[in-house]
Homo-oligomer: 201 residues x 2
Amino acid sequence: MPVLEFAVLGVLAESPVHGYQLRKRLSALRGGLRTFSYGSLYPTLRRLQARGLITEQQPTAADAVTAPALATKRARIVYQLTTEGKEHFAELLADAGPNAWEDELFDLHLAFFGQTDADVRLRILQGRRRRLEEQREGMRSALARTRDRLDRYTDELARHGLEAADREVRWLEELIASERQAAASPNPRRRQSTDNHSANL
Amino acid sequence: MPVLEFAVLGVLAESPVHGYQLRKRLSALRGGLRTFSYGSLYPTLRRLQARGLITEQQPTAADAVTAPALATKRARIVYQLTTEGKEHFAELLADAGPNAWEDELFDLHLAFFGQTDADVRLRILQGRRRRLEEQREGMRSALARTRDRLDRYTDELARHGLEAADREVRWLEELIASERQAAASPNPRRRQSTDNHSANL
DNA sequence: GTTAGCATGTAAGGAGTTACATGATTTT
DNA sequence: AAAATCATGTAACTCCTTACATGCTAAC
């Protein structure tokens, strides 16, 4: 449920990083503007570690050779997923439940689509579309009710919201179409399970 | 700062309502889908009352005549703004600070534009535009960087986000243009200041 | 007579932010 | 030598949700 945990696991699934670095990756994931604070990031890392989903990467002897200058730097704690962490993340990825198509989480799920099964991808896209369609209908009928439209501004807001929802639905439909096409194509996508983290994008 | 308080005051500024009714109005304000829970609504009403910004409306003798059937109903607590409440809300409306153009609050401010001064309206719209432009630039450069573009999906997300931001900027520009036009037009809008709470909507 | 909607509330908790505190490293 | 950026953390707090609890009224 917590967005941050999911996001952290997702970033670590790509490569091990330390907290400070992690924050930048996270803000990049979320469009570059919205960031998580350290006040939530570091406690989250601790929590994940306590749960055994991530571990601190011990600097190996090889590091001293490849990056000797870094040896003197302040100990940067690089975290990586444990096997359990990978399993847990895979479960989170596979969960195409209703929260997967809520605003915050949908964007994240999409960002991790490269690591997500094709069928799950499709279900999330469809769920999101349905959600948007409902929202769109609500706005449409609100605009249709000539009463209770207070002023120009509320009207404009609804109009713009409606158009934005419309556009997103169309965008989703394109994505869904290309998913279906890919499913029918010769590319035999390997199923991604716990012991198989192929990164052929 | 709390979205809910601002929203409640804004709804009550239009007409007195009771909690249950309030919740519906609030969800209508926010596009019909997102609602506030009673678990936050009722405590907020209590808090506002404790601060002297709202009061419980006592049922008058006139009510018994106009709506006698309601007399037997469970006591619905109708709240209304006090003079202090109106003043406070007017201050909130007049504050065109940075939080006024953050997502959540901007929509609300727009919904209350009918009760907002023309110059404040303009500044909020411009602030929002600037914010959107920054966000847009961030996405644009993220898309331009051929490295660190992980896969098709992150790309698509950024593309769609960029287009949405673009559209919103254009929409804002239309609103700003029509504000400027209205400012130059013959309609002499009355200034709404602290000591002047005209309620002619 | 039982489901659905109206109406009000409380207690506990979740997910994050702000503000603070510290210190190393790099750049100017 | 100062300022910016890197790097890690804690304590207190904010705003809101979930889950629970109660009871009335209308419709089926």
